[in-house]
């Protein structure tokens, strides 16, 4: 493929791709996301390919190894187009029946349909499944329609048209202004307005500027970010290229961990294709704008998500946070002006350019526009990746999208924001997904949601998060390193029945000092899960200490005592 040299040429290429595609042709789309692959999607894909060969259908039927649509709980997932019939938990043994009955016979295989766990109703079409229907899917709705490793699929759904529009008709200032107007805020947690960050960076005098896409994701229970880029890498790259143009950056990096080879492979492949087609490199689409785009593999530590540690790691230094008084937009990567945004922030950019700032800012709440893709796990009926509009309540996410609690047990808490987030009790379930609303109760917009039922011990969960941080902290500063050690010590003795009356005050003191004195955001936020539970679930701690009982029957040293008390 020769490099595309102008927006007009891009449109010709797109028309050519579309002319070779018949929208009424059958296509078997199999989720090839990390989750479904782990559940055996690779074998299912191979089985479909050989079955189609066997039945001599390759001229009439396409197969696609698609991006993850999110219903990971029920994988491997298969959607048959154009009817959009959805099958769940498909195994290679089901393949022959699906091809004969559905693809050829146009009839659904009932036993493979999604059954609503609350109504026992069988649902035929993917768009009717409440899990999908109740989301607001801007970033991930097309995932089953594209093979992440095939740029033609992305072009067929209008990919890179936002880039063409920007390079053809908009000045960098106009792009920045449009992004500011859209209200797009950083999806990493702090929620800084993306367009403003770009403006600051562009305003910094420098011979070179950098753009970084943060794909580093290491929270327990978090897999949404990497799944978004894995499923549709070109969307993120397009956002980065547009951002680089707005900022005046000439080099861009995708910072990603190699714990998820599928994700990394898809990104490499997408960059290779984008270079081949002329969306990165010199004179992009004939505009005179040049950009190189590279992957930077991280060292694998959780703390590398912190911006100063991230950039140190990219420079080949030890990935530890450092105290800085300059903004990255003035002195970031290699001490040059740098914009670091989360991949979900970048992924929203083409959508904003295509639909306009006014359209985008109408989605969500007044102060938080757009959507956020979360990974949701724990004791809900449907776990997976969900995209929710800002302003939706956590109750709607748990019950309307995810179908409520497994076994219809009682909801206990939802953990929002990972190891530096907090636990939300039933009484606050009507909390909206919104930067300000979450901040009011001490929570951040993290990538993961973990739902806990009545059989969970809060003390045990907090211990889990603190132990995670005790390993993942760099250990550089005293309040984080030693604070974590002592908080864990105290929680250990509480869960072993040796808790003391003064322990809760001591925990609060350590947390307070850590919050004020730690070097970086990891240390400052490390006690947040603890503090939120001391506020909302204090009675559980008191039961452990005073009654020597564990209400969730989890802490081994206490469970016997508590079940004895109940008997």
């Amino acid at each position: 493929m020769p490099r595309i040299k102008s927006p007009e040429e891009l449109e010709n290429v797109r028309q050519d791709i579309l002319s070779r595609r018949d929208p009424n042709k059958s296509c078997i789309s199999i989720c090839a996301g990390t989750g479904c692959l782990a559940l055996g999607a690779g074998e299912v894909i191979a089985a479909f390919q050989s079955e189609i060969e066997k039945q001599g259908l390759h001229a009439e039927v396409d197969t696609r190894s698609a991006g993850c649509p999110g219903l990971c709980e029920r994988g491997p997932l298969v959607v048959i187009y154009p009817e959009e019939i959805c099958y769940v938990e498909v195994s290679p043994e089901d393949v022959e029946e699906i091809v004969s009955q559905t693809v050829v016979g146009k009839k659904a295989v009932e036993r493979l349909l999604y059954t609503d766990p609350n109504t026992d109703e069988q649902i035929v079409h993917v768009y009717e499944i409440p899990f999908f229907k109740n989301q607001k899917r801007l970033l991930i709705d097309d995932n089953m329609k594209i093979d992440p490793r095939n740029i033609e699929d992305y072009l067929a759904i209008g990919g890179y048209s936002a880039l063409a529009k920007v390079l053809n008709t908009m000045s960098p200032e106009k792009v920045t202004e449009e992004t500011i107007q859209s209200g797009l805020r950083g999806r990493s947690g702090s929620g800084f307005p993306a367009g403003k960050k770009w403006k600051f960076c562009r305003g910094s005098e420098a011979d070179i500027r950098y753009v970084i896409c943060n794909c580093h994701e290491g929270d327990p229970g978090a897999f949404a970010d990497r799944r978004v880029i894995e499923a549709n890498p070109h969307n993120v790259l397009e956002g980065m290229i547009i951002g680089a143009y707005a900022i005046g950056a000439s080099e861009a990096y995708v910072f990603v961990g190699d714990e998820f080879p599928q994700t990394v492979e898809n990104i490499y492949k997408a960059i290779e294709q984008a270079e081949e087609y002329g969306f990165v490199g010199e004179n992009i689409l004939g505009s005179g704008f040049d950009l190189t785009l590279k992957v930077s593999i991280d060292g694998g530590g959780y703390v590398l998500g912190e911006s100063t540690a991230l950039m140190a790691s990219m420079e080949g230094k030890v990935g530890e946070p450092r105290t800085k008084y300059d903004h990255a937009t003035d002195k970031g990567f290699w001490a040059k002006p740098t914009v670091l945004n989360n991949l979900q922030t970048w992924a929203n950019v083409p959508i904003i350019i295509n639909h306009g700032a006014a359209w985008y800012s109408d989605i969500g709440t007044e102060s938080s526009s757009g959507t956020r893709v979360f990974s949701i796990s724990g004791k809900v009926k449907n776990t997976g990746m969900v995209e929710v509009p800002m302003g939706m309540t956590l109750r709607e996410v748990v019950f309307d999208i995810c179908g409520g609690i497994i076994g219809d047990k009682k909801f206990k808490a939802i953990e929002v924001g990972g190891p530096m987030g907090g636990f939300v009790p039933e009484s606050l379930l009507d909390l909206q997904v919104d930067y300000e609303e979450l901040d009011k109760v001490g929570l951040a917009m993290g990538p993961s949601l973990i739902v806990l039922d009545e059989d969970t011990c809060i003390v045990d969960m907090v211990k889990y998060f603190l132990n995670f941080l005790a390993k993942e902290s760099c250990g550089k500063c005293t309040p984080c390193r030693d604070g974590l050690r002592h908080m864990i010590n105290i929680l250990n003795r509480i869960s072993e029945g040796r808790g003391r009356k003064e322990d809760l005050d001591l925990l609060e003191l350590i947390a307070k000092v850590q919050k004020k004195a730690a070097l970086c955001a990891l240390g400052q936020g490390a006690s947040d899960p603890l503090l939120s539970t001391l506020k909302h679930f204090r009675d559980e701690y008191e039961a452990h200490i005073e009654e020597k009982s564990c209400p969730g029957c989890i802490c081994k040293a206490l469970s016997a005592a508590s079940s004895g008390a109940n008997a």
Binding site: V318, T323, E472, P479, K516, A517, L519
Partner: protein, 205 residues
């Protein structure tokens, strides 16, 4: 170098641009305690004992004096109730590692830190990294570094380098506020005779 005027503990002082708050304070005879600050080493901001309150551009926040650059009209307060509580708690954490360190005990007494508030874990090291940074920044030998992360982080000599470089140097020993460094060195000395390979993490700043 341009001169700037700032206020530290209600005292107006002059300092040269490029200095840090801790240097300016010490030049003016105001002591701000710290374990990881050293005049010949880059700021490290890890012990957090030097946290002071700094008012700049209408905002008041806690900052490490060892790294914060002086500027015109800064208002610095080196001791408030909040700072005393932080220092006391951090010292109590340090005492749990190095209960016999003279430097830590002296400061602990000043701040009323209790020796036994936290469970003991006598690793002796308080992770000031003076040895690690001195070896890297001044001697450029990288003979001592950190291994492990989080709560398992500890100093360790690289036996291969240490066996060549440390015998005639050992300049880092007197920098150590506790006994940890000497212990680690003796341990390494013992190791070098067995030539056991083990992982070592270089510290570069």
């Amino acid at each position: 170098m341009a001169e700037v005027t700032l206020t530290i503990d209600n005292k107006e002082i002059k300092a040269e641009e490029g200095m840090t708050v801790i240097e300016a304070a010490r030049n003016a005879g105001i002591d701000i305690p710290s374990f990881c600050h050293h005049e010949h080493l880059e700021p490290y901001t890890a012990c957090r004992i030097c946290l002071v309150e700094i008012e700049a551009k209408g905002r008041t926040d806690l900052h490490t004096a060892c790294s914060y650059p002086v500027a015109e009209n800064l208002v610095v307060t080196t001791k408030t109730d909040e700072i005393i509580e932080i220092r006391r708690t951090l010292l109590e954490m340090m005492l749990s590692h190095a209960p016999d360190s003279r430097d830590v005990r002296a400061l602990a007494e000043e701040y009323g830190a209790e020796k036994d508030r936290f469970a003991k874990e006598s690793s002796f090291c308080i992770h000031c990294a003076l040895c690690v940074r001195y070896c890297a920044e001044v001697k450029k030998k990288y003979a001592v570094g950190f291994v492990g992360s989080g709560t398992s982080r500890e100093i360790s000599f690289n036996p291969e380098i240490a066996s060549k470089e440390c015998w005639d140097c050992r300049e880092c020993f007197e920098l150590c506020p506790t006994e940890a460094l000497q212990t680690a060195y003796l341990f390494t000395e013992a190791l070098t005779s067995s030539s056991t390979p083990f992982e070592f993490e270089f510290k570069e700043e």
